[in-house]
């Protein structure tokens, strides 16, 4: 048997022994909840085995996960959307109300999307996509202008009317923000060559962007570590039933 095979068998034996111990001592309930925790822990460790190297256990766990996710999404689409918004209004309307025939329009447009599976009628799906994409674009335009352009420009130029009686280092912040916004916009304006004054302002914009990307990196590290903390917490507290700190 290869070294990897020995590791795999050894890991399985250790995992089984730990779970047998946890079940026998009552730390894990001998019920669907307990078996579920064992399955989750096994899946977690199988996926972590990728850190050693890519292996069949990792691939099997990954594919199982993908299959279950697909089924869960499909069931939610049925129960929360198609059943409630299409099937019930058409075939099981409330008492005293007739079928909501207008629902047939989006229902057929949705069914037209399915024609992408069949080559001959695929052109029908274009009508659905056109409606979907066109309406989405139309709804987005005025809202983006209002929320992400107009309501963002106003606080940027507010520094020009600040109450200068409120002195302190904080009074420098609004002009710095204005400088930053303008210089970043100049940096992203590629229709003019970045030389001379434009180049200088663009350089300032780059420095603002670097601070922002550095902050992003710091926050990204924090986020990733948090995810790891969550899994370690699950393995130690929920699976092994330990109360930290242990020593």
């Amino acid at each position: 048997m290869s070294r990897d095979g020995i590791f795999f068998v050894g890991f399985l034996v250790a995992f089984a022994a730990v779970n047998a111990f946890l079940l026998s001592t009552g730390a894990l309930a001998a019920s669907w909840i307990g078996f579920g925790t064992i399955l989750a822990a096994g899946l977690t460790l199988a996926l972590y085995s990728f850190l050693y190297k890519d292996n069949p256990v990792f691939k099997a766990a990954e594919h199982l996960y993908v299959g279950v996710v697909a089924a869960y999404e499909l069931s939610l689409v049925w129960y929360q959307n198609i059943l409630v918004d299409v099937f019930n209004p058409l075939f099981r309307p409330p008492e005293g109300a007739g079928p909501k025939w207008l629902v047939l329009v989006p229902a057929f447009l949705g069914l037209f999307l399915m024609t992408r599976i069949f080559g001959r009628w695929i052109w029908l799906s274009r009508i659905s996509f056109a409606f979907f994409v066109g309406l989405g674009a139309g709804l987005a335009i005025p809202r983006r202008i209002a929320s992400f352009v107009l309501q963002q420009i106003e606080p940027s130029i507010r520094p020009l009317s600040i109450d200068i009686a409120s002195l302190g280092w904080g009074v420098l912040n609004p002009p710095i923000i204005l400088l930053g916004v303008v210089s970043v916009l100049v940096y992203f304006y590629f229709s003019v060559e970045h030389t001379g004054v434009v180049g200088g302002i663009s350089k300032v914009g780059i420095y603002f962007l670097m601070v922002s990307f550095g902050a992003s990196f710091g926050y990204t590290v924090m986020a990733r570590i948090s995810l790891l903390i969550g899994r370690v917490n699950f393995l130690l507290e929920d699976w092994l039933n330990l109360s930290p700190p242990i020593f």
Binding site: V69, V77, L139, S147, P155, M222, S226, P245
Partner: protein
């Protein structure tokens, strides 16, 4: 020295893993959690709500962001239920349904809150930002029944809620798209409700412009933000417990970055420095 630049990556993995595990194994000195103004504003807003006020919480995250956002959700729900504030939950993403339901039921059970009277979970509908739009137009028409099939026009907690502007506060806990920007553009912009948000740490830097413009009244960023909120409500849970590990791991990563740079600059030849 140059071998240090090419050490087996599994040694780095082991260092990170030990850094995260150590605080769980050994007791550390209790480190202070600094409360930021962005988190405090959300706390103050919920704290100022009168008994019987109704809050909407949108759980727009899935299992991949659970360690950061679930502690945040639980802290906010516990705060609301402790003040007898009603909560209506919704989600824009399929993966959020199970986590949202679990968070609401866990927090409600701790405060003996009754489903239908004190809280309700509407569930999920496809459409992302357009769902936000529909909630603003006609909430009871969009969700004729909640996840359990109870009619929203009959349920006590949603009986008088017809639009997003009928809520006293709306909070979105988001991990990506659709999320906070969609709530701002399709909801807050038209219906002008007070809007707070929680997000993963990866996304947090993106939302500072909305804080300054007033479109967001507060922001809870990542596990650290959740720990701040737990400190404010006086209930230390998973977020606070993770802060020691977070601190150690950050120090390890900073040490690796500085070590990598030190070794790089010490080992590179003078010829490579010419522009």
């Amino acid at each position: 020295m140059e071998r240090l630049l090419n050490i087996d990556r599994r040694i780095v993995y082991l260092a990170i893993f030990l850094g995260v595990c150590l605080p769980y194994l050994f007791s550390f000195v209790e480190l202070p959690v600094t409360i930021t103004a962005d988190v405090r504003r959300i706390y103050d807003k919920i704290d100022s709500l009168e008994e019987g006020a109704t809050v909407m919480v949108s759980f727009d995250y899935g299992p991949s962001s659970k360690p950061e956002l679930q502690p945040m959700a639980l802290a906010i729900l516990r705060h609301c239920f402790s003040k007898n504030v009603k909560v209506v939950g919704v989600t824009l993403v399929t993966e959020g349904v199970g986590l949202a339901n679990s968070a609401m039921e866990t927090a409600a059970a701790e405060f003996d809150r009754e489903y239908g009277r004190d809280y309700s979970f509407l569930g999920f509908k496809a459409g992302g930002a357009i769902l936000v739009l529909n909630l603003g137009q006609d909430l009871q028409g969009t969700f004729k029944a909640d996840l359990k099939g109870t009619s929203t026009s009959e349920m006590e907690v949603t009986r008088n809620i017809h639009s997003l502007k009928d809520f006293d506060y709306v909070i979105d806990l988001a991990a990506g798209f659709p999320g906070i920007e969609e709530w701002i553009a399709y909801g807050q912009e038209r219906y002008r409700f007070t809007f707070g948000a929680g997000c993963t740490a990866v996304m947090a830097p993106d939302f500072y412009p909305f804080l300054q413009s007033g479109q967001l009244n507060g922001l809870i960023g990542g596990l650290a933000g959740a720990a701040e909120y737990e400190t404010l409500i006086g209930r230390k849970a998973k977020a606070m417990g993770g802060m020691q590990a977070q601190s150690v791991a950050h120090l390890i990563i900073i040490a690796f970055i500085l070590l990598g740079n030190a070794v790089y600059f010490l080992t590179r030849s003078p010829r490579k420095t010419s522009p």
